[in-house]
Homo-oligomer: 380 residues x 2
């Protein structure tokens, strides 16, 4: 199998673990953060910059790429990698979440999602089979099963129905994947079940029986309190197979990454570092700063003097604020570069801490720095 | 003197020439194209990318930088170079043209321009002295005298009054420059006189008597026919001192650069390569292509297979079209990189042709390629 995972180290004071995941386009070290490249580009950055920031794997959005440029174009390049000039691994989502959140959704049936494009109103049917086929066209290293997302809060009956549909779809996804790829690319199942412990267990068990290359927790970071999300991870992650990568979708803040890694998560993706960068919010070990703040106007210091990203090595807060206030394109780019670098380094630091079995110490330092940031924030 | 110019080669079939201009932040080879970095950034590009494309010198806009971030900020960095992380030479304009075209202009008097900021309506007075002081704060390698621009077409009386005011202001600029810099940074005078040969001669002569480090032709590319612009250059450039650099401001298309280099111009700046890039128009030796054109949708070829820019080396027209249609930030960047590279290489090619005294052959090839482009355009 090309998609092999092994756990290489475990923390003795938490469930945090370090691992290696072999994929078609390369091997990645976990825990890992995957920058989001919605439309075949991590907004504003070049692949070379992503690599420079330590990016190992990126995420592409099936829904967006299916609508634009479409498989007809991507097929010419035998997948997303050559199309966008990214040689490393790519994970693609199933498209289900965007249909749910962006498209005009007309119907969910046993067959799949009927929806209208948010771009031109054209009508489409996204079935489990179709989602896998599109992801195969993208030549995704990690293909995600189509799942049904629900809103928070949701009634138990609704959560149960959605998880059962998700399970039936997962079986169809696996059939299509086996038939069309011979199992070359990895296929992950997605655990649903809302915020209900018994439902999450039912989902996890059913998917485990189907046997996937890895497992994700879906339906988190949808408005629930942080502690509730951590609880779901706490009781869901341990019942998933130990020897498979565990991915928490669409999460989160730096604190979320730390708390969820501590609970045994291996993989994350989130638009937060890139989207917030474009809104002028920059991450540092001492908390976030807003570059539009007037206090930065004459500040010759970098965002973080200890940061080694190209933005911090070459540019001052005063310049970054000027670019941001002037709505210059370079602003989005330099800010994004810094935030992606911050997220990636955070994951690297956690991995190192696991490998050296000092994750507890890492956590203490992480929160110490954040708390010091109270002062820092005011100064910033 | 730190700003020394020498002509190193001349074409025997035209007035084209090659030269070297020593400035405070480095030596540049002419003929040269200067990308425009209005607000302390060539929109979307990093300084490293500019250097990679062969950029020797960039232009900054005094009006814009004076209003935002202002001298208070730039002074902290002892000039624009450190502020924006550009280590090479910078030329700054005087601010006059932007006051004329962007600001709410209340009055032109002997003293200077009274105007209101286009950003916040604040009131300012831009005198010749003030313009030089701001440019000294920017630590510009080449400072431009404040001039009065006029519209096209203009009555002769209006053109004459403007050129006379420009001459009187030039003398005041030179005084301030001598007093405040001791002549360290270069100072260029700007020839005005509209489209009137006798007025251009009067202006050129008056400025020559004042003795500047270099001379510019202002008031071109303001709506006059191309041939008229070439005529003004043809009769104005030869009467300016042979041993000084000659700069045509705000020009132009690739054809303009060729025609004006042939008439003896050494320096150019224009927003065209960067602005048009952001509108999807890309320059090639065979003419321009519009990347939004549907014909590019499935085109795996680069913009120009013979081009060595990072965009052409790594990305297809299909991908560039996808980025452009999706309004992705990377689109503006990859397009700009290509166009700036095209402009810079065009100048390098002309310089080489002058040095090897085959400028006529260069011109023939340039027009041959463009004419072939008729076919190419249709295909594109």
């Amino acid at each position: 199998m090309l998609h092999q995972f092994k756990v290489t180290a475990k923390s003795s004071t938490s469930k945090a673990r370090a691992g290696e995941l072999q994929l078609v386009h390369g091997r990645i070290k976990t825990p890992v953060f995957m920058p989001v490249g919605t439309l075949g580009t991590v907004k504003s950055l070049s692949p070379e910059e992503l690599i420079g920031a330590g990016t190992q794997i990126i995420l592409g959005n099936t829904y967006h790429l299916y609508l634009r440029p479409g498989c007809q174009v991507i097929d010419l390049f035998s997948g997303l990698h050559d199309f966008m000039h990214w040689k490393g691994p790519i994970l693609t989502d199933s498209g289900g979440f965007q249909v749910f959140s962006l498209a005009k959704l007309s119907k969910i049936t046993e067959q799949g999602f009927s929806f209208q494009s948010h771009i031109d109103g054209s009508k489409h049917l996204l079935t489990p089979e179709k989602s896998i086929e599109v992801q195969i066209c993208l030549n995704s290293d990690i293909i995600m099963c189509l799942d049904q997302c629900i809103q928070y809060p949701a009634e138990k009956k609704e959560a149960e129905d959605a998880l059962n549909l998700t399970t039936r779809w997962a079986a169809r996804c696996k059939n299509t994947w086996q038939e069309k790829t011979g199992g070359k690319n990895a296929l992950f199942g997605i655990v649903q079940g809302g915020m209900f412990e018994d439902l999450r267990k039912i989902s996890a068990q059913a998917l485990t029986e189907l046997d996937f290359s890895g497992y994700a927790l879906g339906g988190l970071s949808v408005g629930e309190p942080n502690e509730m999300m951590y609880d779901v991870a706490e009781y869901s992650l341990p019942i998933l197979p130990e020897n498979k990568p565990k991915y928490i979708m669409g999460v989160g803040t730096p604190k979320d990454l730390v708390e969820l890694t501590a609970r045994g998560a291996d993989m994350f993706d989130c638009v937060m570092p890139s989207r917030n960068a474009r809104n002028g919010q920059l991450f540092t070990r001492y908390g976030t700063i807003n570059i539009s703040n007037a206090v930065h106007k004459t500040d010759k210091n970098p965002i973080d003097p200890e940061c080694g990203c190209c933005t911090c090595l070459n540019y001052s807060r005063a310049y970054l604020r000027h670019l941001y206030m002037s709505k210059e394109l370079l602003s989005y780019r330099l800010n994004t570069l810094h935030n992606i670098h911050y997220y990636i380094k955070l994951m690297e630091t956690m991995r190192q801490a696991v490998c050296e079995d000092r994750f507890e110490e890492f956590q203490k330092n992480f929160y110490n720095d954040l708390n010091q940031g109270e002062k820092y924030e005011k100064k910033s």
